[in-house]
């Protein structure tokens, strides 16, 4: 690949990362935030790939876009479930992991 093509890919990656990070910072709902964090992780992985760092891209993909958002989602679920006192009270909150 020529230098300008690589530069273009890097520029696209940087713009994507900036856009995803801004969206994540402007979102207030933690559930949406963790989904956007996952998207940001994928964008960062693409940027690292364009910068010829596949090892870092793999780490970023596995940790930044899978494990960290999962831990956030589980934490949100625990907090929203509230203390005991009857059955599930968080139904219909749209968390997508209600089991």
């Amino acid at each position: 690949m020529s230098t300008s093509a690589v530069d273009f890919l890097v520029a696209v990656g940087l713009v994507l990362v900036g856009a995803a990070a801004t969206c994540a910072a402007l979102t207030r709902d933690p559930v949406r935030q963790s989904v956007l964090l996952s998207v940001l992780g994928v964008c960062l992985a693409l940027l690292f790939l364009a910068l010829q760092a596949p090892d870092v891209a793999l780490s970023q993909l596995a940790v930044g876009s899978a494990v960290t958002p999962l831990l956030f989602l589980l934490t949100v679920r625990k907090v929203r479930r509230g203390p005991r006192a009857g059955p599930e009270r968080d139904e219909g909150r749209g968390e997508g992991d209600e089991r």
């Binding site: 690589v6 910068l51 596949p54 090892d55 891209a57 793999l58 780490s59 596995a62 940790v63 899978a66 494990v67 999962l70 831990l71 589980l74 934490t75 679920r77 625990k78 479930r81 509230g82 203390p83 005991r84 006192a85 992991d97 209600e98 089991r99």
Partner: protein, 255 residues
Amino acid sequence: MSGRVRKVVFLLAAAVFAVAFALACTGLPHFGTAVHPYGSKAVAAAVRHRTANVISSVNFDQRALDTLGEESILFGSVLGAVVLLRRARDEDRAEPEPGRVLPSTVLLGAALLPVTVLVGGYVVAHGQLSPGGGFQGGVVLATGLHLAYVAADYRVLRRVRPLAAFAALDAVAAGAFTALGLAGLFAGAAYLQNVLPLGTFNQLSSAGLVPLLNAAVGVEVASGVIVLVAQFLDQAVEIESPETPRATGQGEDDR
């Protein structure tokens, strides 16, 4: 400190930092050039030790001590999370109800679980040859296992994930990294020095100590992440907090 003062202090500090950071960056080697002083030396050292993946050579051979530190950090943080998220005396364990799962989700999860575990194993095993390695493959292995939860049920996940075994494996693998470093001392060299036979370049059994350290990290990361996610899952699915969560401290004194 009022909000206004705080903002002024922040802006001042940010300006100073921006100037200092920009000045420091001008002293760095140029970005994306074909020749890099550290890169050339690292590649030469990796080829000398017949390691095809230079990153793995840096991680597990040239700077293995740094990796020992990172691995210990991961072990320590998993340990801390386990201690913090364990079931407290005033919390109950409630059997979770199985939820409704779409047949397509079951099919996809059941089909992808073996594929993901295989990919994770491949990435760990080929750490000394191709991009990836113990850390990346370990996380893939751990997340792949949780497809059992997505596709089936929490109780199915508990059956495919013997937590005590993984917790023990985590500790054993973390210790194995430290112990493997002693091989260098026994051979009369430095701690964590690559003293094993180096093998043939670009073969699975090349690079001496690198594949062993890589495998130790793979097992440690996979079991560490499994144990970590298990603590969060336990809290999110099974453990019921007391009715007045703020009063837990007093509640414990009563008992």
